[in-house]
């Protein structure tokens, strides 16, 4: 047993840090205030460096980066607040296409995604189905060698900047829900698609996408007809490797320490000398080390070729729930000043803590809610009876 990162991974960490020093600018981070957590220049630079294709498993034809190196890459991106939401989606999309796609998708879409030239987004959730993803109702009907798609998707984040949506559709409504699903890769410039912005509390822009008699050739189908659930499970498997999300708190904690050192209370004292403030800062740092332990553990398991599942749910559950707690603690710590947004010239660090406070709730919802993850732990880790169908 040895939790020490191998020297090779630490060398790679230095390389990633050097890369970020060269390519990640404060303007890129600030630009995400428009709601899109994506920087085209950074995305292309990451792809040019070979890290996007590198993150795709070797057995699928990707670079097969060691999962420990991948873990380091994701850790550094998060610690530096790099707007890289599109990276994980691209890696998952390419992996799904290379595993289940036929010639057309493999030769046209996969290379464009891998080079960073094109972006993908995920079309799983619908207005009436979120966690119950297999209940999707967006309908795809075969018409000769074409398909006609009608329906709507919710939370198609990045759709307004993406080129393709990985669309989960219902192709047979008369069988149990998991058996009547089919996946498509849909070019977002196809006639009949409408993208509407969904504004959020965290300023992050998501989308609702509408599909009105969208006609698509069969070459855009991903996987077998009515076997979409198999493809979906693949997506979840690849998502675990590239999920990230283990390090949302460190920038908030750094900002809180900075504030606690600079601020002066009415009696002239510094918050950093207050026991309760110090206590909260250290408790948050402990939670970060728990997250880091989870991240290194899952990376080491993957590196050994061991499949992990529930550990990923635990990591996501713990990281997002503790992040929410930290944001609330540090907002409170600042009192009324904590409420100031970046529009106020006096906001500490451009309102960083306040922004994180508004962003944090979504992390316990997207990519598997905390409740779904608790279910998965209860069933998969503890062997308790399944509580839903």
């Amino acid at each position: 047993m040895d939790f020490t990162m191998p020297a090779r991974a630490e060398d790679f960490r230095a390389e990633v840090q050097q890369f970020l020093a060269e390519h990640l600018t404060g303007e890129m981070i600030a630009a995400t205030r428009d709601g899109t957590i994506h920087s085209p220049a950074l995305h292309r630079a990451i792809a040019d460096r070979g890290w996007l294709s590198g993150a795709v498993p070797a057995e699928l034809g990707g670079g097969g980066m060691d999962p420990v190196d991948l873990c380091v890459l994701l850790e550094e991106l998060q610690l530096h607040q790099a707007p890289a939401d599109a990276l994980g989606v691209a890696v998952v999309a390419v992996s799904m296409i290379l595993e289940h796609g036929r010639d057309h998708l493999r030769s046209t879409v996969a290379p464009r995604l891998m080079s960073g030239e094109a972006l993908a987004c995920l079309g799983y959730s619908e207005p009436e189905s979120g966690s119950d993803v297999a209940a999707a109702r967006t309908r795809a009907v075969r018409d000769g060698d074409r398909w006609v798609i009608n329906g709507s998707k919710m939370w198609t984040t990045l759709a307004h900047v993406a080129d393709y949506v990985l669309l989960l559709t219902r192709t047979d409504p008369d069988v149990p829900k998991h058996r009547g699903l089919t996946f498509f890769v849909v070019p977002l410039d196809t006639a009949g698609i409408e993208i509407q912005a969904v504004e959020t509390m965290g300023n992050e822009r998501s989308n609702a996408t509408f599909y009105d008699d969208v006609v698509l050739g069969d070459e855009w189908r991903l996987g077998e007809v009515n076997d979409g659930w198999t493809v979906m499970k693949t997506a979840l498997k690849y998502e675990r490797g590239i999920a990230g999300g283990q390090f949302p708190s460190p920038p908030v904690i750094e900002a809180a320490v900075d504030w606690a050192r600079r601020a002066r209370r009415a009696d002239g004292s510094r918050p950093i000398d207050d026991d309760e403030v110090r206590h909260k800062l250290m408790r948050a740092m402990i939670d970060v080390e728990v997250c880091r332990s989870f991240a290194y553990h899952t990376a080491a398991l993957a590196s050994e070729g061991a499949m992990f599942g529930v550990e990923g749910s635990m990591t996501k559950l713990f990281a997002s729930e503790s992040y929410k707690k930290h944001c609330a603690w540090f907002l409170d710590m600042m009192g009324a000043e904590g409420l100031l947004t970046h529009d106020d010239p006096g906001a500490h660090m451009d309102g960083l803590i306040e922004e994180h406070f508004r962003h944090a709730p979504v992390t316990a919802i997207y990519g598997g809610t905390s409740e779904i993850n608790r279910n998965l732990v209860a069933e998969g880790w503890l062997g308790l009876p399944r509580s839903r169908s």
Binding site: M1, D2, F3, T4, M5, P6, A9, V68, V257, S269, R270, I272, D273, D275, R278, H279, L281, M282, R283, M285, I286, D287, E289, V290, C291, S293, F294, Y296, H297, A299, A300, L301, S303, E304, E311, M314, L317, F318, E371, N373, R374, N375, V377, A378, W381, L382, G383, L384, P385, S387
Partner: protein, 339 residues
């Protein structure tokens, strides 16, 4: 990087898992509670198995195993909340050797013939160390007294101060203790011993939490209310899932801390302290949830949950106030408070 046991470590875990399951049953734990929280028969079996000195260098009469290997045994010890002072003894044995204690003392402790402990708190002006872990049964007590690491050898009182967790806590007179090391050498050796104790107790907490959660799962699967197993209710499932998640995180952090301390890494002491604080909190949360999901039976003396519940509270407090430990962490990380 390998975050799982090696094959050898797996074999050690199984062997000691068997030994503790056989020799440290809940009945044994209860019997020890009637005395001073110590089972001499179990201690002799651990001595026969070479556990007390396993992580002492061979040149000091020990088994030459790593701190990580010792942690594998401690994890099994924690699972059975076994009434023997394995962690205090093992840490003190390593301290005595590294701080240059007399050879005869080091080998007697390494073999387990003498029981040793360390007093984590300060020694009072009258030379008394209060509420020393394993103080009721230890023949040898090491402590930090001023700038010195001191060691006292004396007949143990054989009686504990009655306490929540039925731990062998006792006050010890260290006024006749001899000085082992002074100044920077003493500080280094003592800090390392404390970091080892914290990291190993964090691992013990992971064992405790894992076992109590297994108990909770078994009970809630078998116990029916309203015609269905209690464990099929989502409120119960989610409480157990949260407790399992924290306990697994605590286990990983604990072993990561042991690895860092063992390798002498700069972040070892910080991780050990964090692992202990988080491990204790997770252990208490797990015991609380499992007691709750047992209903009234969890509160009864007859069921075993209460044995774990009380130790989950007690183990950490042997170090002193948790808030003081957090304050020490903060001083190291954030710098000391302004006067």
């Amino acid at each position: 990087m390998r975050t799982r046991y090696s094959e050898d470590q797996q074999a050690v875990a199984e062997a000691f898992g068997d030994l503790f399951a056989r020799e440290a049953t809940p009945e044994t734990v209860r019997a020890a509670e009637a005395g001073c929280g110590f089972d001499p028969g179990l201690w002799r079996k651990l001595v026969a198995a070479g556990a007390p000195g396993m992580a002492v260098p061979v040149t000091d009469g020990g088994g030459g195993a790593s701190l990580v290997d010792l942690a594998v045994v401690v994890h099994e010890w924690g699972r059975r909340i076994a009434p023997v002072p394995l962690v205090e003894h093992a840490v003190c044995a390593r301290l005595l050797g590294s701080a240059g204690a007399q050879r005869e003392l080091v080998t007697a402790v390494s073999s387990g013939e003498l029981i040793a402990t360390l007093a984590p708190g300060p020694v009072g002006p009258d030379g008394t160390a209060r509420l020393v872990p394993a103080g009721a049964v230890a023949d040898v007590v090491a402590a930090k007294h001023g700038d010195n690491v001191v060691v006292a050898r004396a007949r143990p009182p054989g009686a504990a101060r009655p306490n929540t967790a039925d731990l062998p806590l006792a006050d010890r007179d260290l006024s006749d203790a001899e000085t082992l090391a002074s100044g920077a050498a003493a500080a280094g050796a003592w800090d390392r011993a404390l970091a080892e104790w914290k990291a190993l107790m964090a691992v013990a907490y992971a064992g405790l939490a894992g076992e109590v959660l297994a108990m909770g799962v078994a009970y809630t699967k078998q116990r029916h209310q309203f015609g269905v197993p209690v464990g099929s209710f989502q409120a119960v499932q989610h409480g157990l899932a949260d407790a399992s998640t924290r306990s697994e995180g605590a286990r990983l952090l604990a072993f990561r801390a042991v690895c860092a301390v063992d390798a002498g890494r700069a972040d070892g002491a910080r991780l050990a302290s964090m692992a202990l604080l988080f491990g204790a909190e997770s252990g208490r949360f797990a015991t609380d949830r499992v007691l709750q999901y047992h209903g009234g039976y969890g509160y009864s003396a007859e069921y075993d949950v209460q044995l774990y519940y009380r130790r989950a509270a007690g183990w950490l407090l042997q170090l002193g106030e948790p808030a003081a430990e957090v304050a020490r962490l903060a001083d190291a990380d954030l710098g000391p408070k302004a006067a």
